[in-house]
Amino acid sequence: MTLVDWVVIAGAAAAIGVVNWYFFIASRGHAKMRHEH
């Protein structure tokens, strides 16, 4: 495993994190805000 591999793995993990945060966690806050509004 070279540095390139680790960079790809870390990048992928970060991207997966962002996707799930955006669609699940951020969207919940978004919905809640609208609901309270």
Partner: protein, 760 residues
């Protein structure tokens, strides 16, 4: 309408455009549910509409439309005061236009895609052309994306803004990634070459993917159209003109200008233009298009006729009653439309899955890229080579995972099944009703008018031994006395006498004795007609007829004794005959594994006799209307899922209490709010057919959901390359998009099989 001061509610139906899959639908649905004041919202992808119930004090139609638009979809205020016919025609037109546009987009994309694949092969020899080719393909691909694939990107972007994702997101991400990669390879091929990889272009893949997804959409749109053929054919039944009698003249006028009270003329072979009541003439009328009953029905003066049915034999005049939006046909069309846009509870499963599905798939796609990259890189390939191959697998995962089959699984089945039901004269008010009917364990039948004809008829006339009068004379005198009574038994006697051509005599006097019968003087004879209690009051012994009367009562018949001038002259037996189809239908219900219960207000002995004759196993006799509700509630407490079959007018509370209320009796029953299912035929076989249809439909829905789900469960790992190490199998993005289109089409085709379902 009566205003209710508390919890005022209004319902509107908003046409929503731009929804392409279950996730879109779920998004609009949750946006509406969040809207303050909205108590109920049901969004239907197939009907492209949202049915919303709201509190007008808190919100209004404009705000609800705005809420839908905020999610990125098109919505309009519903046009007011349009007839269901016009509405349906307008939707048909827009569906046709949509289909035409989509078809031409798909064909053009395929043609350009084929060109993009062939041209590089044919021009391989020409060096000048080869260097110009990537730029040419770039322009072609960009135009296809901007024209044919535009809505994928627009929808995906709108969804993204609202933190949600749908199948368009997957397609946009997949094709967008392939396109960007190719653009880099076009402008900086040196970057790839220097890393030892050919600067691969995915332009033709982008075009072909768009073409394939569009093809899938075209098939879907065509299927959508054919799922609503039943509704369309009902709308087409609406006659255009009517022949109105004005003074001495007959004038042809458009149906819309007929007013209630107009007298219309219908000749043999013509379609009856509007609902009404026959004034003169008689005919056999074919009502099969509304009731599913193939035998024409004989009708004469005083009988109701229904607009859109066909007059087969004679000519008649009739007076128009209900028209336009209140007509029977319009009510059926509206009921069907609402039913088709309703949601089955099982749909919630599909919605839930597709909502969480897209982010999960995007995550899987990224993981696929990382795993492939590391695996190929570790096997000794250069990082750039690894990146190219990992990229193809990641795009294939995005493309294959489209959940559109999931979104189509339930609504297509609901639409086809409600349409099929209507052809049998069974109007099912929506997906929930279908699902619950499929789960029934017990069918409760009202006796009068459901198992039986509902019209008492004289079955026997007995003359006392030694009486001077014969049966006809006895009947003639009794009919004369009873002719002024409104009692149903009296009506049966009078009708029977009329049928035998007996002339009634004038009455000198008559007195009604409640709960006993009637007494009076006819001609020169003093009569007492009534039950055993009345005879006892008159000190007349019923003993001479005891054996016969006992036998009749044992068969569920009501015995009416007749005394003439103080001596027992005879007796009449009156019964409500069992419908010809009831026995078979009840036997069929039992073979379907359902418990059959008969409810009746009759006494135990009569009830048992009818039940025995009809083949019903359980009888609850002597129940009053409110007692029916309690009886159904009791069955429900025991864990039964109960259907109540009744006439819809007297049985409304019981129909409402039951899990499924089935109102029998055609036109009038459509208006019955309490019933989930309206049977246009007064025939218990319609009950068996409704249950059989619901069970089939549930089976179809479950198959659809299973296949849609299994398809993704199998397709995604294959696209991700799990089979590659063992078998060398890897899907290209193009094959993945073809497989995806195929899955939607197979689900729709499975639902369409319900169209040919045999129910008897």
């Amino acid at each position: 309408m009566i205003d209710t001061p508390i919890a005022a509610r209004e319902s509107i139906r908003i046409p929503v455009t731009g929804m392409t899959c279950a996730a879109c639908q779920a998004r609009v649905q949750s946006a509406l549910a969040r809207e303050p004041g909205v108590s109920n919202a049901s969004v239907n992808l197939m009907m492209e509409s949202a049915a919303v119930t709201f509190d007008p004090a808190v919100t209004n139609a404009d705000r609800i439309v705005a809420a839908v638009r905020a999610t990125g979809y098109g919505a309009e205020l519903p046009a007011t005061d349009t007839s269901p016919f016009l509405e349906q025609e307008a939707r048909d037109r827009s569906q046709r236009t949509e289909l035409r546009v989509m078809t031409s987009k798909a064909i053009m994309s395929f043609a350009i895609g084929a060109l993009a694949m062939l041209v590089p092969m044919l021009t391989m020899r020409s060096a000048a052309f080869t260097s110009a080719l990537p730029y040419l393909l770039l322009v072609l691909t960009a135009s296809v994306m901007a024209w044919a694939g535009r809505h994928f990107y627009v929808n995906a972007w709108n969804a993204l803004k609202h933190h949600s994702a749908d199948m368009d997101t997957l397609i946009a991400a997949g094709t967008g990634a392939a396109f960007l990669y190719s653009v880099v390879a076009t402008f900086a091929p040196g970057f790839f070459v220097s890393h030892g990889v050919a600067p691969n272009l995915y332009y033709e893949a982008v075009i072909i993917i768009i073409a394939l997804v569009l093809t899938g959409n075209v098939f879907e749109a065509r299927a959508k159209r054919s799922t609503s053929t039943a509704l369309r054919s009902l709308v087409e039944l609406q006659p255009v003109s009517a022949r109105v009698v004005r003074g001495e003249q007959e004038v042809d006028v458009p149906v819309a200008s007929v007013i209630p009270g107009d007298v219309l003329l219908v000749r043999a072979g013509e379609r009856i233009p509007v609902d009404g009541e026959i004034v003169s003439g008689a005919s056999a009328i074919d009502e099969s298009m509304l009731t599913g009953e193939s035998m024409p029905v004989e009708k004469g003066a005083g009988d109701r006729v229904i607009g859109a049915t066909i007059n087969r034999t004679g000519a008649f005049r009739y007076r128009a009653t209900t028209l336009g939006a209140d007509s029977t046909l319009a009510r059926i069309v509206r009921l069907m439309r609402d039913a088709q846009s309703s949601r089955a509870p099982i749909q919630a499963l599909a919605d839930r899955v597709s909502e969480i599905f897209v982010p999960v798939v995007i995550s899987l796609s990224i993981a696929t890229f990382a795993i492939w990259f590391v695996a190929i890189h570790l096997s000794g390939a250069l990082p750039a080579t690894a990146a190219v191959r990992a990229f193809a697998a990641a795009v294939a995962v995005l493309i294959i995972a489209c959940p559109c089959a999931m979104g189509l699984a339930v609504p297509t089945a609901v639409m086809v099944a409600t349409g099929r039901g209507a052809e049998y004269g069974i109007l099912i008010k929506g997906g929930e009703a279908l699902q619950r009917t499929g789960d029934l364990t017990t069918v409760v039948l009202d006796k009068t008018g459901t198992i039986t004809e509902g019209v008492p008829t004289v079955t026997d006339v007995i003359v006392s031994p030694g009486s001077a009068r014969d049966a006809d004379e006895l009947l003639r005198l009794v009919a004369s006395l009873e002719s002024e009574s409104a009692h149903p038994l009296a009506a049966a006697i009078v009708k029977h006498a009329e049928a035998r051509g007996l002339v009634r005599e004038s009455i000198q006097s008559s007195e009604l004795i409640v709960g006993r019968g009637v007494t009076g003087v006819v001609g020169t004879s003093a009569l007492a007609v009534g039950n055993a209690a009345l005879m006892a009051d008159w000190s007349v012994s019923t003993a001479p007829l005891a054996v016969q009367a006992g036998a009749l009562a044992g068969n569920g018949k009501t015995v009416v004794y007749v005394t003439i001038d103080g001596a027992l002259a005879g007796a009449l037996a009156i019964a409500d005959p069992i419908r010809a189809t009831s026995r078979d239908a009840i036997a069929r219900l039992r073979t379907m594994g359902l418990a059959v219960v008969m409810l009746t207000g009759d006494d135990e002995r009569t009830a048992q006799a009818i039940a025995r004759d009809a083949g019903v196993e359980r009888v609850v006799a002597g129940v009053r209307p409110e007692g029916k509700v309690a009886e159904i509630a009791r069955l429900q407490r025991e864990g039964a899922v109960v259907a109540m079959v009744g006439d819809g007018i007297n049985d409304a509370p019981a129909l409402a209490q039951a899990d499924i209320g089935m109102a029998m009796g055609g036109g009038a029953a459509i208006a019955t709010e309490a019933a989930e299912i309206v049977l246009m035929r007064s025939d218990l076989t319609a009950v068996t057919q409704a249950i059989a249809l619901s069970r089939r439909t549930m089976r179809t829905m479950k198959q659809n959901l299973f296949w849609a789900f299994i398809y993704n469960v199998i397709g995604i790992p294959i696209a991700a390359g799990v089979l590659y190490p063992a078998f060398g199998v890897l899907l290209t993005p193009v094959i993945a998009s073809a497989a995806m289109a195929f899955s939607s089409v197979s689900v729709v085709a499975n639902s369409l099989r319900l169209k040919r379902a045999r129910l008897s």
